[in-house]
């Protein structure tokens, strides 16, 4: 069975499991664009749900109002009494809530759902405290940096990725040995650790999933349940590839062992360890591609856990989108929140009519006063992203990198006031590498910067291309990127063989200028040379000569240019 077939078989098994309404699992996070795979999966899910099970489909980007139900404006105005609409959560009670375009879910919506899944009842409000049990199926169509809120995703036990699967017939489950709950807990914790998942949340989800699988067939827990639970819960979230099994295991590095700790079969009996290994092996085929073994990614081993996911990128789920309303009239350039304004004015109509009766014969109108006006709040559009592009080649690399690192951290410490982001790209040898995707988090930055290698060739063209793409990505998220290039400008590695590296770098620089991305070139050549200014001209960038890089002066240059 190929990996794609296996994923589809697992997805069908997940659908069958969800049909038994295992509320303890929270639901499923389904990554898939609309298409035949997703339709086939949803059809498989629906056919098994009894007619009596409510299945509600939320509107895209649903907020707390839609989920909890709020004042029904039309009904309230018509009746003159407050009429509350039934929220989606109540409607889906005892069944399934489908969230299409879950990556666009408003932050308050995600928070409400997370709270409801945690506590099993509605938060305080019009229908506060009402117990609610439901499964959330979040259909996440997001790409790259737009994903379902981690707040919600963490509460949904199952994670299915339907991209690239090929719908086919379901496989036949093999019979397997029964497992005690005690052994299962141990094996799942070890399997989680082997996949780089440190938080106890994940093995717990997996155990709940395995239990639900066994309960669905009304039989005791067996190894097959655990293996499937690992594939549905743990494998898609894996952060690092498990170490190869058997004697070919690579020797651990001499540095202290990552705090996550590899599974140690000897620590409590041979059974738990070998079962964990078995589970990890069964999941190997469906691991996300491109995972590194833990030994190769030492900086990721220690802290983190679930929160490591995507950091600041997912914050608030989108830019320039509505972010609540404020009780004040809109100023220039702002938008009136019409529905909120009407809601504010609605209760007063009776009072206002009584206090100021309409002129005889005149038609009575809906009365909106200044105090009713609500303004739509939006995220500030002018948030900056500074993309540091640091030359890590040659002999001066170490000192230069240390100062660039200092500059990144200095900028970040000011970031919480200004809501700026910082990214870091280092280039050496033949390639540029994004060491730090745009982030506002000092903690994340520190870890990414902890050990920057230096030395080798100077592939400026590739570095500029990388920064160019990053910059366009930032702009697409509504931020304004600035590229800060720290180099002496002497390119000696081109993107393709046979091209003059300097010409290649200039071409890449001109592409950035043509795209209208702002750039600053900080020239770190010890003596003035022609290459730096030449590159700056092609970039359309300011040229700042700083033969001895100092973090403070880099920051000053960036802030002067911003």
């Amino acid at each position: 069975m190929t990996a794609a077939d296996q994923r589809w078989a697992d997805a069908l098994a997940a659908a069958r499991l969800l049909q038994t309404l295992p509320f303890a699992l929270g639901g499923a996070h389904v990554r898939a664009r609309p298409g035949p795979q997703r339709d086939a999966w949803l059809a498989a899910l629906r056919t098994g749900l009894g007619g009596a099970t409510p299945v509600c489909r939320a509107p895209a980007g649903a907020g707390a109002d839609a989920l909890l139900g709020g004042l029904d404006l039309a009904a309230t105005l018509a009746s003159g009494r407050p009429a509350f609409g039934e929220g989606l959560l109540k409607a889906a009670d005892g069944g399934v809530l489908l969230l299409p375009m879950a990556e666009r879910l408003a932050p308050d919506g995600a928070a409400v759902l997370a709270a409801v899944l945690d506590q099993g009842r509605l938060p305080a409000g019009p229908a506060g405290g009402h117990p609610v049990r439901l499964l959330v199926i979040a259909l996440d169509e997001g790409a790259d940096d737009e994903r379902l809120s981690p707040l919600l995703s963490a509460r949904l036990a199952l994670l299915l990725d339907l991209e690239g699967v090929r719908p086919g017939p379901a496989g036949v489950a093999a019979t397997s040995a029964a497992v005690s709950a005690e052994a299962a807990a141990g094996a799942l914790c070890r399997a989680s650790a082997a996949l780089g998942l440190d938080s106890p949340r994940w093995p717990l989800h997996a155990l709940r999933c395995a239990r639900a699988l066994a309960a669905a067939d009304a039989r005791p827990l067996n190894e097959g349940d655990l293996a499937l639970a690992v594939r549905l819960v743990l494998a898609p979230r894996a952060i690092c590839a498990p170490a190869a099994a058997g004697p070919a295991e690579p020797a651990p590095p001499p540095s202290p062992e990552p705090a996550g700790g590899a599974p140690r079969p000897e620590s409590d009996g041979p059974g738990a360890g070998s079962l964990a290994e078995l589970l990890v092996e069964s999941a190997r085929a469906v691991l996300p591609p491109g995972l590194e073994p833990e030994a190769a990614a030492p900086t990721r081993g220690a802290a983190g856990g679930a929160g490591r996911s995507r950091g600041a990128l997912q914050r608030a789920g989108g830019r320039g989108r509505p972010a609540g309303t404020q009780a004040r009239p809109p100023r220039a350039g702002e938008r009136l929140a019409l529905v909120e304004t009407l809601k504010a004015a609605a209760p007063w109509q009776a009072v206002r009519r009584r206090e100021q009766p309409p002129a005889p014969g005149a038609q009575d109108r809906f009365r909106v006063l200044r105090g009713d006006l609500r303004t739509q709040r939006r995220r500030r559009p002018a948030e900056m992203t500074s993309i540091f592009l640091v030359d890590a080649s040659g002999s001066a690399a170490v000192a230069r990198l240390a100062e660039a690192k200092g500059a990144v951290e200095l900028l970040l410490t000011r970031a919480y006031a200004r809501r700026d982001e910082v990214a870091l790209v280092a280039f050496r040898g033949t390639r540029a590498e994004v060491l730090l995707p745009p982030t506002r988090s000092l903690a994340r930055a520190r870890r990414a910067l902890a050990d920057l290698p230096g030395g080798g060739g100077t592939p400026i063209a590739h570095a500029l291309e990388t920064a160019h793409l990053l910059g366009l990505g930032c702009r697409a998220r509504g931020r304004s990127p600035t590229i800060i290039l720290l180099t002496d400008g002497r390119a000696n590695v081109a993107r393709t063989a046979g091209v003059d590296p300097m010409d290649d770098a200039e071409a890449a620089a001109r592409a950035i200028a043509a795209a209208g991305l702002r750039a600053i070139l900080i020239d770190v050549a010890p003596r003035p040379r022609a290459e730096g200014p030449r590159l700056a001209r092609a970039l359309g960038a300011r040229h700042v000569a700083l033969p001895r890089v100092e973090a403070g002066r880099v920051v000053a240059a960036v802030e002067a240019g911003a």
Partner: protein, 338 residues
């Protein structure tokens, strides 16, 4: 009936549990900030704690949780009739959801009353409900700025002033702010951070055995909450008794001058900003002493609370990798050996 996970069944996380107990003993302390990864039992611990506290007496039907002996309410407590009795209620525990609107937080016009009777009446918000209890904000670092400003204002003054929609209401809102957040997802503004008396860092347990134990206990709770809660009832009752005893003893705990001096030296050594650090050291240390057996606060109590009281108040040098906790430990060592 829903069962809450018992406080004493939480595996590890000793510093967080200690900080929460200290906050429970001295409600005037002013809040705990819990930093850490998701899924480390932050919310579980805070929720579990509120269940352990002795019930409070409030004016019956008062939406502001007014204490009977403090009557009359400082505000038009509209739902209270003249001769209201009092009743015991559990310590309020209010969740402030991330997406909460200003209306929800401070309260707004009571729609029902406005529509049916045409009367302007105030519908209290989450701040009023949290009075004399806990206000819990998960992911506090992702909270909207204007809500944060509002919370700061109320946390300082202890009262909430509402001037909107033709309403003018002023009511007491003194609560323990419990925040949680993951520093990887955005830093907390220093102004807000300073509001929290204590801060603790929780991490995912490193030992596999601890994780297995967490999963086992949680699984047992999932399957039979009633039996699980019953199993931990005695341990929880013991914690509850020690909180109650510490509350009674708190005022009698003496703070010797040399301990005060030690605290002052520690703060100046570390360059911790403001007097708030020293005050918190003293209060938290006293609460810890009250939880123990002694009659006065000792240098040991001070050393035990110093990391959580000062960690978030140190001025940070972005180029210094040394964690705040390590700096505090170093300074303490120097002072205690001197």
């Amino acid at each position: 009936m829903a069962f809450a996970y018992p406080f004493s069944a939480i595996v590890g996380q000793e510093e967080m549990k200690r900080a929460l107990l200290i906050a429970a003993v001295d409600p005037r302390l002013g809040g705990v900030m819990v930093f850490g990864d998701r899924g480390t039992g932050k919310s579980t611990a805070v929720r579990a704690l509120s269940q352990l506290l002795p019930p409070i007496r409030v004016v019956a039907g008062c939406p502001f949780n007014c204490a009977p002996d403090r009557a009359p309410c400082p505000v038009p407590c509209t739902r209270k009739d003249g001769r209201a009795g009092s009743r015991a209620v559990p310590v309020p525990f209010v969740d402030l959801p991330l997406g909460a609107t200003e209306d929800r937080v401070v309260g707004s016009l009571d729609l029902e009353a406005a529509l049916s009777t045409g009367v302007r009446r105030f519908e209290p918000g989450l701040l009023a409900r949290a009075h004399r209890g806990f206000l819990y904000i998960d992911e506090v670092n992702l909270l909207e700025d204007h809500i944060v400003d509002l919370l700061l204002d109320v946390a300082v003054s202890g009262e909430s002033v509402v001037e909107r929609e033709g309403l003018s209401v002023r009511h007491a809102a003194r609560f323990q702010l419990i925040g949680s957040g993951n520093p990887e997802e955005g830093e907390l503004r220093p102004q807000l951070l300073d509001r929290f008396a204590l801060s603790v860092e929780v991490t995912t347990p490193a030992a596999i055995e601890d994780r297995v134990e967490i999963v086992r206990r949680r699984d047992a709770f999932d399957r039979d909450p009633q039996a699980f809660v019953a199993m931990w009832q005695e341990a929880d009752a013991q914690v509850a008794r020690s909180i109650a005893r510490a509350r009674r003893r708190l005022e009698r705990i003496a703070v010797p001058d040399e301990v005060l001096a030690l605290g002052a030296r520690l703060c100046s050594e570390l360059g911790a900003d403001g007097l708030r650090g020293e005050l918190t050291l003293m209060r938290a240390g006293r609460a810890l002493a009250a939880l123990g057996r002694g009659e006065s606060m000792t240098g040991k109590d001070l050393a035990a609370v110093a990391p959580m009281a000062l960690r978030h108040r140190l001025r940070r040098n972005p180029l210094d990798e040394t964690g705040s906790s390590a700096r505090i430990a170093r300074a303490l060592e120097g002072l205690l050996s001197a």
